[in-house]
């Protein structure tokens, strides 16, 4: 038992089916009379649609139907929604221009959906789409968020004058100005947080079916939160009663945030399935994913840090322009505000912080949450400026952080940007990470590299995140349109095995194992007797899904609560069976016993009795052993830690090689350290990808996506990454029953700043002051050449 419980490196139950090709993904579906959809997309960044002629396509072989924006508008298909209302600095809600699932008279980004063709086969749908004639009248486009607010910039929406979605602020501006006035030193930095394209291994897919007899719709979709999809499609977009829409998210191959959102394609499939009265399936091709998945990041930021003469942080001010893309995706508005501005205190006692964020519309794919969502952007700003300050002040970068850390006895700690941290040991994590990375030996290694003609640098990133989304009352007060509890149902069968229904969704995280470990530990049931079920609104009572490192902290806590109810009920039944008082019954390792005696009955016996209540306290408890629980967290959780990157650069080629990457994370208690390691590794891989390789680039003039395939969008590969040294600092979360904090996003949050700090450290001796992500070999080489030229001139 103990070999499979909490804290053990249990091999993932789900891997057997994934690794042997026995998973069930949306595209595997073959429904009777199934048709296929193909979406004709805009080749222009911005254009009026003068005319669409679908006549030839309608009569093409195998075509069942062709729909355009005129059809969906006539059918009153609602706008896709943004579910988080951000109020600007004047208290006005953000500008929310309509987002039609099919463009009506204007396309606003390359890839915008223009027509849907439904045919007997995918090939026929594609061929028919070739026959659709669209007369576009091209309009000027704006791509760069830094230019979207310019006078004379192309305008996207009448509802959002000047392309401004909102002008938002947080913090005490007056206090910040006062602190800057008396600062001994001010460090300034300009940063671009590069646009990322998510690239989950499984592209987005959907299939929809309508039962004309019952009026029931079923949507299979690659979603991280099927219940949220059901709520949005029923209540806001399609007007289908919630009980008449079943949403199933079967096995899903990765999401990273991009599958949280409710997109045009699944909306249209659901709507059209009743129109054509046949099942419809669609699976994105990779090139569709590039232009139509919600992208990530894309910030332009200026920040200033004020310090006293000893490097004590006095105040921080941050000014950011965040790209929303052409339309607001489901949670787009929250990412650069409440998931970004609130994190700018980091691990430090900075007493005054002010952040101003202007979110803008541009002729690019919508931008929304991507692994970390706002928190990587905040960490990048803070940890880059802290390390630049250390260089300018000539204070050791670790020492400067130590001088400013929140003390371990200061919790709960109220930051000047709304959050109240619950626990942490930042100095402890730093100490451990410095030891693991042999920080003290670095200068020797730098000298060795120099002797070989190489440049070596080391960079730190002391990150914090707010995870476990989220206390419903808090997010509600900040504009969220939903609660962020989680639900669980623990249902015993008469034969003693358990089905656990969770509203969390696993698309790579390993919940079927982790949650089974939880239940196994709580109830003393062997791991292989526990089945975790998720992803179907018809079987799982409710759920808010998986994002924001919330599954274990919130979903796991709900499971613990349901287990507690099982135990409480079991005690009453056991008391009856053992002829004792329920107050005297203890439960341990799957056995109920009378305290202080050897009289006992196993849980299996109690469960059997609950379903076969021949001798049962029916006047006290109902038959059955099936409990539901909802859990709404008291606070966010605050995972934190220190990542250290050591890098070696060949100045002749600009090639950066990561020599060593160390991560010390505080996730609270660990349920399955092997799965946690996997999450950390994957997150760091994505973080290194952002720092060195990945960049979603649109042509600034034409608005064409230039990095629209793997020829140009560089995903990190195994040989781009070192082996990671992973360690932990454990301070249990004080407000959830498991003491867990969440581990899914840490790597992607921490790594970019660590890598870029290492690169700046390596390049500082040759005079390079600033280089943007991704620090490709070409960019690094050019920066070195420019610095050489400049030095020679001086």
């Amino acid at each position: 038992m103990s070999e499979q419980g909490i804290g053990k490196r249990v091999v993932r139950k789900e891997d057997q089916r994934f690794l042997t090709g026995k998973g069930h993904y949306t595209d595997d579906l073959q429904r009777i009379r199934q048709t296929h959809a193909y979406f004709l997309r805009s080749p222009h960044a911005h254009a009026k649609i003068a005319r669409i002629d679908t006549k030839a396509a309608q009569s093409a072989p195998g075509v069942v139907a062709v729909f355009t924006g005129a059809d969906t508008a006539a059918a009153k298909v609602g706008s896709l929604i943004c579910g988080w209302v951000v109020k600007d600095k004047h208290g006005e809600p953000h500008k929310a221009p309509p987002h039609p699932a099919l463009a009506v008279d204007t396309v606003r980004h390359v890839g915008d959906t223009v027509a849907m063709v439904i045919a007997e086969t995918e090939a026929q749908a594609k061929d028919a789409a070739e026959k659709i004639v669209v007369d576009y009248q091209e309009l000027p486009a704006v791509i760069n968020p830094a230019k979207a607010l310019d006078k004379g910039a192309a305008q996207l929406h009448a509802e959002a004058p000047g392309n401004l979605c909102y002008d938002w602020e947080l913090g005490d501006r007056a206090a910040v100005d006062a602190a800057f006035a008396k600062a001994a030193h001010v460090t300034k930095i300009d940063l671009v947080n590069n646009r990322l394209i998510p690239n989950a291994m499984e592209p987005r897919a959907a299939a929809a079916e309508y039962d004309a007899g019952s009026g029931q719709y079923t949507l299979w979709t690659t979603s991280q939160n099927p219940h949220v999809t059901r709520l949005v499609l029923s209540a806001f977009v399609l007007g289908i009663p919630e009980h008449k829409l079943r949403v199933i998210a079967p096995d899903v191959g990765g999401g990273f945030g991009s599958k949280i959102f409710i997109y045009a394609e699944e909306t249209l499939l659901t709507w059209a399935s009743a129109k054509v009265n046949r099942p419809i399936k669609w699976t994105a091709e990779r090139n569709e994913s590039f232009v139509s998945d919600a992208h990530g990041r894309d910030h332009v930021t200026h920040a200033e840090l004020a310090m006293d003469k000893d490097g004590k942080f006095l105040a921080l001010k941050v000014d950011t322009i965040a790209n929303m893309g052409a339309y607001l995706s489901t949670f787009a508005t929250a990412v650069p505000t409440y998931l970004y501005g609130t994190l700018l205190a980091g691990q430090y006692t900075t007493p005054a912080i002010h952040v101003n964020v202007r979110s803008v519309f541009t002729n690019t794919a919508p931008v929304d949450a991507y692994r970390g969502a706002g928190r990587p952007e905040a960490t990048f700003v803070l940890e880059r400026i802290v390390e630049q300050a250390a260089r300018e002040m000539k204070i050791d970068k670790a020492e400067l952080r130590r001088r400013n850390f929140i003390a371990t006895d200061a919790y709960p700690y109220q930051t000047p940007v709304a959050l109240a941290y619950d626990s942490g040991n930042y100095a402890g994590a730093l100490k451990k990470a410095l030891e693991m990375a042999d920080y003290d030996g670095f200068e020797k290694r730098r000298a060795d590299s120099k002797a070989k003609g190489k440049l070596r640098g080391i960079g730190l990133s002391a990150y914090i995140e707010a995870c476990g989304l989220a206390p419903s009352a808090v997010v509600g007060s900040l504009g969220a349109g939903v609660g962020q509890w989680e639900s669980a149902q623990v249902r015993f069968n008469p034969t003693g095995n358990v089905q656990v229904y969770t509203g969390s969704h696993s698309h790579g995280q390993g919940h079927e194992t982790t949650f089974a470990q939880l239940v196994s530990t709580q109830l003393g049931v062997p791991l292989d007797q526990v089945e975790v079920i998720h992803g179907d609104t018809a079987s799982v009572p409710f759920g808010m899904g998986t994002y924001g490192s919330r599954s274990l902290a919130v979903g796991g806590s709900a499971i613990v609560k349901a287990c507690d109810k099982i135990i409480a009920k079991g005690k009453k039944i056991a008391a009856h069976m053992l002829e004792a008082s329920a107050a005297d019954i203890e439960f341990k390792n799957g056995v109920f016993s009378i305290a202080g005696t050897d009289k006992q009955v196993p849980l299996g016996g109690v469960v059997f009795s609950a379903y076969v209540p021949h001798n049962y306290p029916l006047n006290e408890v109902e038959p059955g052993m099936d409990e539901n629980a909802f859990y709404d967290p008291a606070n966010f959780t605050y995972p934190a830690g220190v990542h250290i990157c050591e890098i070696e650069i060949d100045p002749d080629t600009g090639v950066s090689t990561i020599a060593k990457f160390t991560a010390v994370d505080d996730f609270g208690n660990l349920v399955n350290p092997m799965i946690v390691e996997g999450q950390v590794h994957g997150g760091i891989g994505q973080g290194i990808g952002q720092a060195l390789l990945e960049h979603g680039v649109y042509d600034e003039k034409s608005g064409q996506l230039l990095t629209g395939s793997y020829m140009d969008y560089t995903m990190p590969r195994a040989d781009d990454l070192p082996s990671f040294d992973v360690g932990y600092q454990v301070t249990p979360c004080p407000h959830n029953p498991l003491g867990v904090k969440g581990c899914g996003e840490a790597g992607a949050i921490a790594a970019p700043a660590a890598v870029m700090n290492a690169i700046h450290d390596a390049l500082a001796p040759v005079g390079v002051k600033s280089i943007d992500m991704p620090a490709t070999s070409s960019r690094v080489w050019q920066a070195i050449q420019r610095a050489n030229t400049k030095m020679a001139a001086e």
Binding site: L40, R41, S42, P43, H44, V110, K126, A129, E130, K131, I132, N287, F290, V291, D699, S702, Q704, L705, L706, G708, S709, M711, D712
Partner: protein
């Protein structure tokens, strides 16, 4: 993307000029050209089908002419719609200059591709544009050179001088060029239009290459 090119064609300018008016010559030099139709004033429509690897697309092209400076230069602007594949569009300034017995053809073109073409082909287009233009003009030069015949170089200067003096570009050599084919062009504008089609075809074919 911008591309420039310069080709010496071993035929006098009037011959080159006329050959550019010959749909048969153009069809032979532009792969996959299915039709050429007159549209509005100074506008033509072309349909070209290309199959590159697994991708087959029919481009419908629209060309407009401007900035006439006969017989030296003009500008063409064109756009080819490739359906779901995206589009190619651009403009080109084309110059013909006498060079002894031959003619030097120069062009400066800027082309843009959109949609899937840009998404997949943006990396390839710069490298392949030049190669494609070379292929087209090499075929064109060979054809025109052969039509001009071995005697052409001896008489070219006189012929060209005649044309310029007469202010009737294309009149005499055009009969040579169109001998195998349709009615001779009725005006300078019409000849320019054929040249424009050739230019557009280059742009469109460049777009196909982007698909590879």
């Amino acid at each position: 993307m911008e591309m420039t090119g310069e080709y010496r064609i071993p035929a006098p300018r009037p011959t080159v000029w006329s050959a550019l008016n010959d749909p048969a010559v153009l069809q032979a030099c532009i792969p996959g050209c299915e039709s050429l139709e007159r549209g509005a004033e100074n506008e033509f429509k072309a349909t070209v089908r290309a199959k590159v690897g697994p991708v087959s697309a029919r481009f419908s092209g629209k060309v407009s002419l401007s900035d006439f400076d006969p017989p030296k230069s003009y500008r063409i602007s064109g756009e080819g719609q490739g359906g779901a594949a995206g589009f190619a569009k651009g403009g080109a300034v084309v110059n013909l200059e006498e060079d002894g017995a031959g003619t030097i053809l120069r062009y400066t073109a800027d082309a843009q591709v959109g949609g899937k073409l840009a998404q997949i082909g943006s990396r390839l287009i710069d490298g392949t544009a030049k190669k494609l233009a070379d292929e087209f003009f090499e075929a064109f030069a060979a054809k025109v050179g052969a039509m001009a015949g071995p005697a052409a170089s001896d008489t070219a200067e006189a012929a060209a001088a005649t044309v310029v003096t007469a202010g009737l570009p294309g009149s005499e050599p055009a009969q040579m060029a169109v001998a195998r084919n349709a009615a001779p062009p009725s005006s300078k504008g019409a000849m320019m239009r054929w040249l424009a089609i050739a230019g557009l075809a280059v742009l469109v074919v460049v777009a196909w290459l982007a698909f590879r």
